[in-house]
C-alpha cells in the first residue's frame, strides 16, 4: 500500500514520511512565505500542546500537506532548543496523537504501520503475533503486569497480542523514534526561534526540580532514579516505586514526591497523586509499601554498584 498524503498527515513520523519529506526538499525560508504560514502556526500549536500550554487535540485545522509539514517543523523547533525534556514531551505527545489518530484503523493499515517501524508482526487469520524481540523493545517502559512477558504466552519466539495492543505498541514506537533522534538543528527563522525558546522556558519553569527535604544522602540506586526523573526521563515502574517507597520511609510527604514526578514526560497529576497515595497506604488497599530489598533492586537492574561495595547495603 503506497502512503498517500492523508496517511502521512496522520502518521508523519514514519519511514514513508521521512522519504516524502526528502523528496519535497522544502527550504525553511519558504515556510515563512504568507501562503505557508499555516504550517508555522500549526507547528507552534503542536508544540504548545506537547508542552502542556494548550489542551491536546488531533483536530485538523489545515490541509494534509501543511499538517504533515507542521509535525516536522515542531520537531525542528525542539531539536533547535537542544532541550531533552522538551524532546521527551514532544515524543510523548506524538505518541498520544498517534494513538488518537489510529482509532478505528483497519488491520491492513496497522500492519503497514508496523512495517514502517520495522516491527515484526505476523497475522494468521484473526490471530496477531509480535516477535519477542520487537515486543521487548516496545514494552520496555510499560509497567502494568499484563505487559510482562511472563504473563504472555510466547511460543517459538512469537507473542500473541490484540489489535488494540498493537496500536498501543505502535504509539510507543513513535515515541522511541522521536526520543532517539540525535540530529541538531542549528538555524531556525527568528520567529520560530523565539517561539521555541518560549516553550522551552515554560517547560523548564513548570518542572523546576524541587529539592526534597531528606535527611542525609540517598542510596546510589535511589539517587540515580531521582536524577533520571529530574532529567525528565520516563523511568520504569519499578524505579518509580523504589523512589516513592524510599522517600516515604524518609519522611517525605505525598505532595513532595508528586512534585518530583512533575518532570517526567508522561506526568499526569491525578494518576501520580493516586499512585503515590496508594503506595503510602492512604488509598486503595491501605497497605503502606516498604522500600524494596537490595536483592529486588538488583533483580530489577536498578543497582548501579557493580562491585558490591555499597555502604547502604541492606539499609532500608
Amino acid at each position: 500500500m503506497a502512503a498517500n498524503i492523508e496517511f502521512l498527515a496522520k502518521y508523519p513520523f514514519t519511514k514513508s514520511g521521512v522519504s516524502f519529506l526528502r523528496k519535497l526538499k522544502v527550504p525553511l525560508e519558504e515556510l515563512l512565505q504568507p501562503e505557508r504560514r499555516a504550517v508555522l502556526n500549526a507547528a507552534v500549536v503542536r508544540l504548545e500542546q506537547a508542552a502542556g500550554i494548550k489542551p491536546r487535540s488531533v483536530k485538523r485545522a489545515v490541509d494534509y500537506l501543511s499538517e504533515f509539514l507542521s509535525a516536522y517543523v515542531a520537531l525542528w523547533m525542539v531539536l533547535y532548543t537542544k532541550n531533552r525534556l522538551l524532546k521527551e514531551r514532544l515524543a510523548d505527545y506524538e505518541s498520544w496523537r498517534f494513538l488518537a489518530s489510529s482509532t478505528g484503523e483497519p488491520p491492513d493499515v496497522l500492519l503497514q504501520l508496523a512495517k514502517e517501524y520495522d516491527i515484526r508482526v505476523a497475522r494468521e487469520e484473526d490471530e496477531l503475533q509480535m516477535h519477542f524481540t520487537s515486543y521487548l523493545r516496545l514494552t520496555r517502559r510499560f509497567s502494568a503486569p499484563e505487559w510482562r512477558l511472563g504473563n504472555r504466552e510466547p511460543r517459538k519466539g512469537w507473542v500473541r497480542i490484540s489489535w488494540r495492543e498493537l496500536r498501543r505498541l505502535l504509539s510507543e514506537a513513535v515515541r522511541l523514534w522521536i526520543v532517539s533522534i540525535e540530529r541538531e538543528v542549528e538555524w531556525l527563522p527568528e520567529e520560530l526561534r523565539v517561539k521555541a525558546d518560549k516553550v522551552k522556558e515554560h517547560v523548564e519553569r513548570t518542572v523546576k526540580a524541587k529539592t526534597l527535604k531528606t535527611r542525609g544522602q540517598l542510596p546510589p540506586c535511589v539517587e540515580e532514579i531521582k536524577q533520571a526523573i529530574l532529567r525528565g526521563e520516563a523511568v520504569s515502574h519499578q524505579a518509580r516505586f523504589t523512589l516513592t517507597t524510599y522517600m516515604l520511609s524518609r519522611g517525605a510527604t505525598v505532595e513532595e514526591i508528586v512534585e518530583l514526578f512533575t518532570s517526567v514526560s508522561d506526568y499526569n497529576p491525578s494518576i501520580t497523586e493516586y499512585q503515590v497515595m496508594h503506595i503510602a497506604g492512604l488509598k486503595g488497599s491501605r497497605i503502606r509499601y516498604r522500600p524494596p530489598s537490595c536483592k529486588k533492586i538488583k533483580l530489577w537492574g536498578l543497582c548501579p554498584i557493580k562491585d558490591g561495595l555499597c555502604r547502604f547495603k541492606g539499609a532500608q
Binding site: 524481540t133 520496555r140 510482562r148 512477558l149 511472563g150 504473563n151 510466547p154
Partner: protein, 406 residues
C-alpha cells in the same frame, strides 16, 4: 621434583595447553575481546586475536590461569571499553550450583572454629565444642552439579519452546555450573533491559498466578467460589508449564485434601485440554490450586544469575580452557549430555604424576576419575596424582609441599 618458581599448578596448565591447545575454540574470535588472568598479576582485558591459531599459540606460550572471551562482538575488540564499537552480543545464562540450595549441601560444608580451631566437614551453625563462630567453605559434589544441570535443562526448554532459539551452546563452566549461550541474529542487538526481561521470564519472575491476566484466570466471583479459566497443556509459556505441573500433581495423588473427586476429574480434563478450561471452583479448593501453582512456579523457574544475562559486555570462559579455581576443563556439551554430566570424571584432565601436598583445611571425601580421596584433616600431608593435588590447591584447601633445594 620441584622446579623453583613454578608451581605444580602452572606445570599442569602448561602441559595441558602444550598438548591440547588445538581443541581451544572461540567462534568469530576476530570480533571478540579476550581477557586472561595470569598466574601472577591482575587480569588483562581488551586483548585481540585475529585468528584462533594465534590465540592457541598465546596459550601455549603464556599459560594463563583463567581465560575468557566476550559474549559481545566488537568492531575494535582491543579498544577501550567505550570505544570498541559494540555490534551485538550472544544471549548468555549462567547457572551456578552456589545459587541452588541442593539438599546435599549440609553433608559437605567444611568448617573450622575461629576460636578453638576445631574442624569438620558437615555443616554446623556454631562450633560443637566451644560454641564459637565458625568459618565455612563451599564444597560441591556430583549431586550439586546434577541440581545445576536440572536448571540448565529448564533454561534450554524455555529458550527453544518459548523463544524459538535453536542454536544453543552449552558448556560446563569448569567449576560448579553451566553456561548456556544462544546464538542468533535475532537476539544479537537486544539491550541489557530486554535481556533482563528474558532472564526474569526464565526465572518465572513477575508471573501472575491468579488474577485477571493470571495463569489461573479469574473471571468472576460467585457465592462460595469463582469462575476461573484454568491453564491447559495446549497454552503457551508459563501457562503450559503450570498446567503440566498441576496435571502431574493430580496423577501423583498430590492434589489435594479437601478437593472432591469430581472436581479433580474436571480439573484434569480442563488442564489436559480435553474439556473447556472454564470452571466453577469453590473458594477452599481454589486456594489449594493457587498454592500448588505457586509452588510449581517456584520449582520450575530457572535458577540463573540474571546479572550475567543482562550484561552485554560479559566475559565468559573459553571452551576447553582450564578453570583456574579447580583445574577442570570447561567442557562443551551436547544438550542431551547435560543431565547426566559428571564433571568429577568428565572434566578432569588426567595428570597422574604424584605430588605431595599439605592439607590446610578439612577436606570432605571426594571422587575424581572414579577414584575416592579423603577425608583429610588440616596439617595432613598426602601424596596425590597431580590432577587431584591441583584440585585441592586451587580450591584453597591445600598447598604444595615444597622440598628445599640445596
Amino acid at each position: 621434583m620441584q622446579v623453583q618458581g613454578r608451581t605444580v599448578v602452572q606445570m599442569m596448565f602448561t602441559k595441558y595447553y602444550e598438548k591440547f591447545s588445538r581443541i581451544i575454540y572461540v567462534e568469530r574470535i576476530d570480533a571478540r575481546e579476550i581477557g586472561i588472568v595470569p598466574f601472577s598479576g591482575s587480569m588483562s582485558r581488551h586483548m585481540w586475536f585475529k585468528e584462533i591459531s594465534s590465540f592457541r599459540k598465546f596459550l601455549r606460550e603464556e599459560t594463563p590461569l583463567h581465560c575468557y572471551y566476550s559474549v559481545a562482538y566488537y568492531r575494535d575488540p582491543s579498544a577501550r571499553m567505550g570505544e570498541k564499537g559494540w555490534i551485538g552480543a550472544d544471549l548468555v545464562f549462567d547457572i551456578d550450583a552456589d545459587h541452588i540450595n541442593a539438599p546435599c549441601r549440609p553433608e559437605h560444608t567444611p568448617w573450622r572454629c575461629k576460636s578453638c580451631k576445631e574442624e569438620g566437614t558437615k555443616e554446623v551453625e556454631a562450633c560443637p565444642v566451644c560454641g564459637g563462630e565458625v568459618d565455612s567453605r563451599k564444597w560441591f559434589c556430583s549431586s550439586c552439579i546434577k541440581a545445576a544441570a536440572k536448571e540448565a535443562v529448564k533454561v534450554i526448554d524455555v529458550l527453544r519452546e518459548d523463544f524459538g532459539l535453536d542454536d544453543i551452546r552449552v558448556s560446563f563452566s569448569g567449576n560448579r555450573g553451566f553456561h548456556i549461550r544462544a546464538v542468533s541474529d535475532e537476539i544479537l542487538q537486544l539491550g541489557g533491559h530486554e535481556r533482563r526481561e528474558i532472564g526474569a521470564y526464565v526465572m518465572g519472575e513477575g508471573v501472575e498466578i491468579f488474577g485477571k491476566r493470571g495463569i489461573i484466570q479469574h473471571i468472576r466471583n460467585v457465592r462460595g467460589g469463582a469462575w476461573v479459566r484454568m491453564p491447559t497443556v495446549r497454552d503457551g509459556g508459563w501457562k503450559r508449564r503450570i498446567a503440566e505441573y498441576l496435571l502431574r500433581a493430580i496423577e501423583e495423588g498430590e492434589i489435594f485434601h479437601g478437593v472432591g473427586e469430581e472436581l479433580k476429574r474436571n480439573l484434569k480434563l480442563a488442564l489436559s485440554g480435553e474439556a473447556k478450561p472454564h470452571m466453577l471452583v469453590g473458594t477452599k479448593a481454589l486456594r489449594r490450586i493457587i498454592k500448588l501453582a505457586e509452588r510449581g512456579l517456584a520449582e520450575l523457574g530457572g535458577k540463573i544469575d540474571i546479572v550475567v544475562t543482562e550484561d552485554i559486555h560479559r566475559l565468559i570462559r573459553v571452551v576447553n580452557s582450564l578453570h583456574g579455581g579447580t583445574g577442570f576443563r570447561v567442557v562443551p556439551l551436547l544438550e542431551a549430555e547435560v543431565a547426566s554430566f559428571d564433571p568429577f570424571s568428565q572434566a578432569v584432565v588426567p595428570f597422574n604424576e604424584a605430588v605431595r601436598i599439605v592439607v590446610q583445611y578439612p577436606v570432605p571425601r571426594f571422587q575424581l576419575l572414579k577414584k575416592s580421596y579423603g577425608p583429610y584433616h588440616s596439617g595432613e600431608e598426602v601424596e596425590l596424582p597431580t590432577h587431584a593435588a591441583v584440585y585441592l590447591i586451587l580450591r584453597g584447601m591445600a598447598v604444595e609441599k615444597r622440598e628445599s633445594i640445596e
